[in-house]
Symmetry: C2
Subunit: 517 residues, 2 copies
């Protein structure tokens, strides 16, 4: 290990003395030297205690109630009404974690957590995040920390290859495309929509210079399936453009016919279709829009195609699920969240584009304090032009640690285990004639319900979540109230699934007997 | 410590056996159990090694070259072209950190880093972030982890009180306002602009129902000082509204007269002024817009006033700097970055609004999978309606740890030390007649230059950054190329400042002798 030498001779004692002398100039206020609240040696001790606390927490998480038993407003009375004037000790704080924080935590990593979709957690990612915090660089430009930018570009290439993305999406050595880490799929969708909006506006203004931006925006229209995540509708709201839901088919999939009908109607009305979000693995029921139908239409109509595979994307590293991504070659941008299902702790949302200039074009502003010598070399990437915020953490370290410590095979095995557990739950549900499966199980989500009224199912869900032994959330599929059972925890095993199902059946017994009474 | 009891009897041995049996059903692919790459006991060991690595890195950071000596593209050849199939060991990875990563890191926490503005780093924040990673909840709604939401609300109240913000900005028990953690000041500005855009659009549409959103957006105009951060212009671009720069005065401050002139001109042209961003502590030179002049105008004209105090905000916890915030009472929203100067590691951008309904109104969409029982109680906060992304980390833990372990007095002492060091550098510059100070020093930034041409100063800066002993970035003030010397590191002392100045003087000698030759 070679540390680059520092040119200044070091003598910390002399420094301190000089600092003490200097501290008496200028400031009219009591100039206490900033207290050393916690120095490196204290951090060595407390950091190791925290490592043990974290390991204990995760090892023992199964014995905690997965969903907290607190009422809104529980926390404020437990805390002082303002920050302390004087420093407190680490013991004070660590003791308060179990007293104040943990009673109000929903334990997303409990093996009894089956709500929403998973959020990733792994020890290698946590180790990488410690390093990320220590380096603490803000990688908005190449110069602000070259390693931060360059590792990200390479990690997105590694991940893109795992998914067998078309080469056009990889940065390689001299490509027009490449990947970036966004904070969330919501931001990726918004960034794609803004890039598409800028691109179509410039194209139209080049052809019709008299058109104002507002006149164009008024006519722009974007589309997504009626099953798309609410963040897609939000991206339309933020971007100030119409976003129209396309009715999905009986498999909750956006198909060619419905999209074409909307296009014809809207074009006839003088609107300008410019952007389509296709979802692979919807939040409601993990349905898949038909890329092989929708993609060619987008290309013919010169509409930007963005693919949101927030949850499902991780599965595409397995050859047996890769076919679900067929048609990605028609897309302009593609996004999924390794922070959901690929063991990289939040936040880490991977986005690729075929034309990086389209993203950059929507945002690029270059004040002098952010310029640097290599800027115009064409070799470097300034990721601030790819995203909404300016600042960014060194998040690719998490990917690097996880990809290396699991290996592709380990990651594939992890995905397969979850899918397997979902099928196991599905088969349990199918064995009970009181229940129905509401959607084909493709990955780690099972949508199911009691045969009967929505009211009945709402009552069942309420009982499940009040019992706090497991945690689920619902969805609506058309007019049906449906329960979602998502395989989430890194530590979930068959026994947890079996036990959860037994528990659901018992509560169903109660609900059904009440219903008959 | 009381852990809530788990209702399921635990027997991990029995579980594993059942899991092994179950693992043989359904899956047509080789169903290796997901390998345990790193379990809790291995994490205990490696986590402690990482704590030591982090402590060593930060203790020894002074002996590293602050600015890396690498060319664009340095990293890719050091890595394999794709992820490994088989798992690698932790030793492989930790060894590569010094070999591959560190040579490309710009060391933001080196005491020789004087570029941009500081980014915060403290051991208490790093400990909190370890806990945040372990809990790993995604706190988009109250129910998704009540502690995550409630601690955030209380911490923003604590911090608001430290700044003596008007009560209307605090959440208290039953206020209309409150605080939220955003990822960055850029996002806070964008969120404020979108809220203001929605509010004015609804007001106008209520009065003139025939107006379309596009017709309104075309006429909307927002303002900021010509010194505002580029992210403000970007927010205008994203929001699809005009954003006009107001010429600042000789102190680089936005004043009433210039704003009023623009308002009159634009209203006469039929435009609708709706949003003003006032900056406290600009990125260029840490100038301050005149809130006491600008604020009343915004209120009279019914324009949303957003205050961006990204860097300077932290200083307002000191009574002697609080006057710089006078006029905040006129604002609708206020934002600053504890992740810059208040020892809370990135990301943690604190934003307050007087009317939370205005933020929520711009974004609120409620799909059923995000609904929960307490939603309509009025007692709870769903922070997803306050921000661009859906997901969010448990970032308030960092504030809680830092506020408690430093205490308000410790934080104030930290700010004062940095301001003191800036004044020390200023007085050194003033003693050398070849140099000039370009802007009053108020906080931790000194803008200075060689008397003479821009070319001369550009050459000087280039020499400084090529020497890599210290790191600075420039700015333009009007037509002058200026060097920025920002006090950044938590560990910077008078001796580092003295040594940096000695180094700058020596390079100036060289540059000036070349210039004369």
């Amino acid at each position: 290990m070679a540390i680059a030498p520092c040119a200044f001779p070091l003598s910390r004692g002399a420094e301190r003395a000089r600092a003490d002398r200097a501290a008496r100039v200028h400031c009219p206020f009591p100039l206490a030297r900033a207290p050393v609240t916690m120095d490196a040696s204290e951090f060595r001790r407390r950091g190791k205690e925290m490592v043990d606390y974290v390991a204990n927490y995760l090892e023992g998480i199964e014995s905690r109630l997965v969903y907290p038993d607190v009422e809104p407003g529980y926390l404020r009375p437990l805390l002082p009404s303002s920050a302390p004037e004087e420093p407190e000790t680490f013991e004070d704080i660590i003791g308060d974690i179990e007293r104040i924080i943990m009673p109000g935590v929903t334990h997303w990593h409990s093996p009894y957590f089956f709500a929403y979709f998973p959020t990733a957690s792994s020890y290698p990612a946590m180790l990488a995040d410690m390093l990320c915090g220590a380096i603490g660089c803000i990688g908005f430009s190449w110069a602000a920390s070259p390693a931060c930018t360059e590792l990200e570009t390479v990690m997105l290439d590694w991940l893109g290859k795992m998914l067998r993305l078309p080469d056009a999406f990889l940065a390689g050595d001299a490509s027009l495309g490449g990947g970036v880490i966004q904070g969330s799929a919501s931001e990726a969708t918004l960034v794609a929509l803004l890039a598409a909006r800028t691109k179509v506006t410039r194209r139209l203004q080049a052809a019709f210079p008299e058109l104002t931006q507002a006149a164009i925006m008024e006519k722009l229209v974007a589309y997504s399936s009626d099953q798309a995540h609410s963040s897609v509708e939000r991206a339309g709201l933020i971007g100030g453009v119409k976003l129209k839901p396309i009715p999905s088919d009986s498999n909750f999939s956006m198909r060619a016919a419905a999209l074409q009908e909307a296009l014809q109607r809207d074009k006839a009305a003088g609107l300008i279709p410019f952007f389509v979000v296709a979802t692979l693995g919807t939040t409601n029921c993990c349905s898949f829009d038909n890329l092989l139908e929708v993609g060619p239409i987008c290309n013919e109509e010169d509409m930007w195609l963005h693919i949101d595979a927030a949850y499902a994307g991780s599965a595409f590293i397995c050859p047996e699920f890769r076919h679900l991504l067929d048609g990605v070659e028609f897309a302009d941008s593609f996004n999924f969240n390794p922070h959901k299902w690929l063991l990289v702790n939040f936040d880490c949302s991977a986005m690729w584009v075929k034309q990086r200039k389209d993203l950059i074009g929507a945002f690029k502003l270059d004040p002098v304090y952010l310029k640097h010598g290599h800027q115009d070399s064409g070799l470097i990437t300034d990721y601030r032009h790819w995203q909404i915020p300016l600042g960014r953490r060194f998040r690719s370290l998490k990917m690097w640690f996880v990809f290396r410590m699991y290996g592709v095979k380990g990651l594939q095995a992890y995905i397969r285990k979850h899918v397997q557990l979902a099928h196991e739950f599905e088969s349990l549900v199918r064995q009970d004639p009181r229940f129905e499966i509401c959607m084909d199980v493709t990955l780690g989500l099972v949508c199911f319900r009691l045969k009967g009224s929505n009211q009945l199912n709402e009552t069942l869900l309420k009982r499940i979540n009040s019992a706090r032994k497991i945690h689920l959330v619902p969805c609506h599929l058309r007019d049906k109230f449906v329960l979602r059972f998502a395989i989430c925890s890194r530590e979930v095993e068959s026994a947890h699934v079996q036990r959860a199902w037994q528990h659901i059946r018992e509560l169903a017994d109660e609900v059904l007997s009440l219903d008959r009474a």
